[in-house]
Symmetry: D2
Subunit: 215 residues, 4 copies
């Protein structure tokens, strides 16, 4: 395959990018200075060398003065180590941080398709269960400090979609024995009216959730 078609094809794998926009990316790069292409190529090539996946939350972070393979959030002192927020992907964390959450995270790496018989192929289930066990025992979440705090709550922060619900139910089932044994709560994000939505246009499920979570 010729180099232009090959690069187009690689861009088509980017999330949300179709053949036409992939081709525009190549045309954009062709029109740019070679120095910028070299910089971009270098940034992509060395991405792996400059980053690491946090050994505790599996989030990607930039290597630096990190302590024992921990990302900045897992290594931070003032976080509430008794609450673990389970998310689908790295990008969710950026968004949850903006909402003011101060606990810790775990990145599942995806959701489980409805038809799947092998959840482990899609999400880090085993890793989540060992993380929870370690945290609940108060041995695994201490970060750089030596003081450890026992886990009190696991928040299942899945999307409010069919696959998200499916994944949430399976996680609940798998975590429940640990929760009973090690004495922590399993919670899910509240459903309801999201900011800006009007009652007249809300679907019945959302209204039923908003009613049951009224306060």
């Amino acid at each position: 395959m010729n180099p232009i078609d090959r690069l187009t094809e690689l861009f088509e794998r980017f999330p949300g990018i179709g053949p036409r926009q992939a081709r525009r990316f190549v045309h954009y790069l062709l029109s740019e200075r070679p120095a910028l292409r070299a910089e971009l190529a270098d940034a992509i090539r060395t991405l792996g060398a400059h980053t690491a996946q946090c050994v505790k939350c599996y989030r990607w972070f930039v290597k630096g003065a990190d302590v024992a393979g921990l990302c900045t959030i897992c290594a931070a002192r003032p976080r509430d180590r008794s609450v673990l927020f389970v998310v689908e992907k790295d990008a969710d964390i950026d968004n949850v941080e903006r909402s003011g959450f101060k606990g810790l995270y775990f990145v599942l790496g995806g959701t489980i398709p409805l038809a799947s018989e092998e959840p482990e192929k899609y999400i880090r289930l085993r890793e989540l269960l060992s993380r929870i066990e370690a945290d609940a025992a108060g041995t695994g979440n201490g970060g750089p400090s030596s003081v450890s705090v026992a886990l009190k709550e696991v928040i299942l922060g899945l999307s409010a979609t069919t696959e998200g619900d499916h994944t949430r139910l399976l996680l609940q089932e798998k975590i429940l024995p640990l929760a009973a044994l090690l004495n922590f709560k399993i919670t899910s994000l509240g459903r309801g009216l999201s900011t800006g939505s009007e009652l007249e246009y809300a679907d019945p499920d959302t209204i039923a959730s908003a009613l049951s979570s009224r306060q």
Copy 2:
């Protein structure tokens, strides 16, 4: 003004209708049989005579074998008369009914604009307060039966918009003294992820609400 322009202008007042669609409505009517136009005109002209505003919830309903000016919901026996759901407009009720709610309603008639100094111009505040007083005393909500049930909860079902929030806060302030005196709860609909929404695209406020209403 000529009759076509006049009718176009009247249709432009319909919710969500601009000049172009208003004109299309007139062209549609011109192309229809005179008998259908006559039926539509008759249905609009007699709308007032065939309907009434419920004396308890201010919802519009079709007159018939109604008891003492009550709409079908207010007059229905099996509803839970201890819960009052306050909504902005009639159309909200259709939607809340679909969610399975079984209590009673009150239609405010709108929301209060942010800059307004006279809330009474926009919503039925006085009427709501007397309704609540009567219900809380157990004298006003008995419907056709003679058994009365005391009010236990007022749900403020405003939209999750800036005006909706503004109206909700004002209602809370006005209803609070009655709630303290007559012993009922004031609640609001839960905020959170609405059906189908993904964490990555949710706004920080919605995530914060979903976190605080987690369960």
Copy 3:
């Protein structure tokens, strides 16, 4: 059926209106003053009495000092009576007038569905052919003046859609014998880039048309 449901159903027949918006229209009318409802009902009821379909172009117009059943355009002196613009519906005329066209019109009343075997059920084919015959003979388009002008061109102003093209082809076939006999041209609107469109996003058909109509 109850009057609210009946009126909702009548509004659902309006072009582009679904059940939910139809219901909002009824709620809007319920919230309006009875006087406005009466005025709207009256405007709809008397629409037929105040309007007429032009005997030459079949456009609806407001009756007044009209001459012999002609609409304002057909009756106007300074129009170019040698060009006939065939459109699908009344609303198209408003738009073509804004483009500065100064000839005459004929309203087909619709387009012919692809599967149809009976074009006459959908468009005024017979009426169009007699209008063209009269115009071509210079007897039918004189308007109020006594000077008649022979037809030189029929513009088929159909939409650039599959049904529009289908209708255009059938009209061409039906009008062609008259054109040969009575010596006038049949033309169609030029295809090409419409205002604001970019070459990169245009479809191949549009580019091919834009190429063949380049000037």
Copy 4:
């Protein structure tokens, strides 16, 4: 700046990509195998070495068995060398090729902003004029063959936007003296209804164009 933020910033320069999608691209790359990142980096880094800008039409193409720096279209024997299609950018050519055009191209490299006093900063004006001169003299467009064909037409294939029109007018003015001297036509793409558009929703300019290019 850290490597993740730096790469995000580089992706934000891609056409149509905002900060959020740029970040998703980085997360996508982090989740991919290092081998794929290496391949992508390599494809971007060597893009310049594998491609060249055609010396005749300024389109980017993949180097290979090319003759004297010509792209595949400029070098192809069966193209009509008497027609030159001037386009804004490489991507336009892909689209025009799909419409069946068989002449040659010239890539301007952009459009001229309305306020600009220096058109040469935005488009290859000088290069276009020398190309036209060479082609018109029948010395420059022979491609690999030795038979040369004199230029008969320059098609200005600008977008139907304000900037496109502005650029087209300036090009016409600049090319006109050459056209008079060397005896070729300057044409522009036809404006009109684009595929799928309805008369009722067309703007007056488009209808006026469709009328003047009727046939």
